[in-house]
Amino acid sequence: MQVCEYDILVVGAGAAGMAVALACRRRNLRAAVVEREEEPGGILLQCIHNGFGLQRFGEELTGPEYAERYLREVEGTEIDVFCGTTAVRLTGGDAFRSVVTYSAKYGVREFRVGAVILAVGCRERNRGNIGIPGTRPAGIFTAGLAQRLTNIDGYIPGSRVVIVGSGDIGLIMARRMTWLGAKVLGVVEIMPTCSGLLRNVVQCLEDFDIPLYLSHVVTRIEGAGRVRAVEVAPWRNGQADSRNAFRLECDTLLLSVGLIPEHELARDAGVGISPDTRGPFVDANLMTNIPGVFACGNGLHVHDVVDYVSEESERCGRAAADFVTGITDTVKQIPLHAGANVRYVLPGTIAAGRSNLLSLRSMVECEAARCTLHRGEVELATKTFRHVRPAEMIRWNISAEMTDDMSREETQPLDITIQCVADDE
């Protein structure tokens, strides 16, 4: 077993991994990236539609183009990228952090490094996770798998398609399958609202007259060999209304029913996992409870757009570089909790005396919502956001001035709340 020493090891060469490695390299640290696929780029490579990079580059790129910009930059540096390499074990430690990897090309290696950054991405929730009853025929794919099979491998996974879940991948695959010549019979969404971005509803469904069945569920899958049909029923008061069920004859069912951070490598190392994000708990430096182990990107929490993944990962890279170079962070960190109407807030602490970018998800939908940061009864900061929906992440920058006096205060936990307000407020 070969031992490799670096300052930083990044696990995953997707959007998060590339950005975080570059941020570390800018601080002149020796960084390596391990990637289990045969080439770097991550899921971006199969996202051949456009819409990436609006925030980051001010232009609309396809997924491969967005990845390309980072890949070129990585190639121009001394970052070592090891593809076809799977991280199988992570261990914390006082002297160094250890990651064991398996690879056909490099054999088994142990990376001994100052900091590990988990940029591992997420997986798709599947049929078992949402418990669709019925038979278990071929022709049931997660939307991302179907996207991979179509856009990278060049296969046609189906000809008459029903899509469950109105997440962005589901909407994009509705359009993609239509362009392939397949008939998309509908998108079935349990919630009363679409969970993907509005632009995708317009561009992927409405432009192709694909029906969107809101407040509906698939109640049964039929077919012995291949999918033959699905039964769809309205969802009322937490139950399927079977009297108004209808049948859609199809050979394919695509599931776009949510993403879950791949937290297993972290969990097995003893990293605390949040039941709300399903990713690691992290502090204001995006560091987990194991010193020197950091997390960012969709492996930390699921983002709406890749631009924010890149931004978060760069922050993470700077914090990891600080850790490795011994710039001891003496800043006081105060615990931060999700309060009323907040599904989750990240990170889990606020650093006193400097600016803090919070990512939070609302549990409610409203035209205008006021976010408030409290310490007990005291309101520390407040800001109103427009068009708040559970599907869209709220990003709120708490300025250094707002947190300035916290370093002198007791570390009483803070909480953050969302409240719907009248539109003109």
């Binding site: 054999g107 997986r123 599947n126 794919f141 046609i156 996974p157 000809s159 969990r267």
Partner: protein
Amino acid sequence: MTLMQPARNKTTDAYDVVIVGAGVCGAAIARCLSGYDIRVAVVEKCADVSFGVSKANSGIVHAGFHHPADMLKTKLEIRGNMMFEKLQHELKFPFERIGILVLAFSPEEMEVCRRLCAQGRANGVPRLELLSAEAVRGMEPVLSPDVEGALYAPTGGIVEPYRYVFALMEAAQGNGATLLLHWELDRAERNGDVWELRARDSRRVRARWVVNAAGLFADEVSRILAAEEFRIVPRKGEEYLLQRGAAGYPNHVLFPVPSRHTKGMLVIPTVEGTMMVGPTAREIEDRHDVSTTAENLRRVFDGAKRMVPAISTRDIITAFAGLRPTLEDQDFYIDLSRRAPNVVQVAGIQSPGLTASPAIALYVKDLLKAGGLTLTEKADTRTDLPETTAVRRLSPEQVDEHIRRNPAYGNIVCRCENVSEAEVVEAIRKGHTTLDGIKFYTRAGMGRCQGGFCTYKILQILQRETNQPIETFTKRGKGSELILGRLDT
């Protein structure tokens, strides 16, 4: 298992025994008979071994206290149970004797445990014990505080059912038995002292003896052979698989006290660290109905949570249903046919069929002998299978050694279960060429993502290894094609 071997014989050259059905019974019988100097074939209508009743088995090696001593299945259950260490040693399939607890929630239920204990002791089950509430909770901290006591059967165990069946068949084939897949019996004729069996696709097999181990379809096979009339009633069981690391993972197989037809809704830890809950038990008409329902999901979890409150539907990876082939008297029917010559019936093999399977094989061998088949032990029988390599069970140092010999051990295809390319290739080369066959053989696709990340990799490896077009690959045989076409054609 090797890729479809054409039968060695010309039409004149008959097998001594043909076994209809490559489930746990057919495979166990084939392995047993392959130790003798006779020619054995197994015909199976599915695309792979164990694809019928056996693959949905709960994987419990039962102790032998559930049924009275006068039932055939009790005798075979107890005898079979005791054979598993030796079998595991020879065939290297995953098996652990972790013990069974039957939990009582009231004095009445404790009385049932007492009765089962007495019945088990009368049957000859060793080391049965009645436990107090305190003792049982000490052994199994995840249990509900409402448990008032239990029956403990330390000889109960868990096994990976399909791996066991695969191993039996591999061993049989290693000793010369022939396996014919996609071979569905259509007609049978007796010519002189030879049975001529014809498949739906017109392939023919000739044999002196026929063993009917056709599971759910044993009654149809019996009819085709003009043997006894009986009716197999499928009793459906829905089960749920929970992910590794799920809350509530117990150290023993947990049973409630049984009702007349079923051993009840169980919590079953698996050898691989996942957990199964179920099964339901309902008699149905349709022998192909392996669908699951929302109603039964609730029933299964209500039953499981009563025993282990921490169990959560949130940890479900997948659901499946299996059909138990039952006869009216609920016992096994294993005998020489009294109507058709040279036919052995192996029917009604429901629970505890897997436990009993090695004993069933011996029982069938004795019936064949009694019926006049000459059985001489082969001199060169191989009882052992080589150990298969699974990266997930090796230390990094061991994996490093394997990679040096074969780099494909370093290419992790299934990230959830840490299955390497080399393991997938081995499965394919042994004849497991469907996605489900590869899954059951290697565990690739059996973890938390359920094939989301490994399916395309396995399809690539299948194409490379078999050189077949992508449209021909299936989930579990013809009709379950995965890909409908290519963009460039």
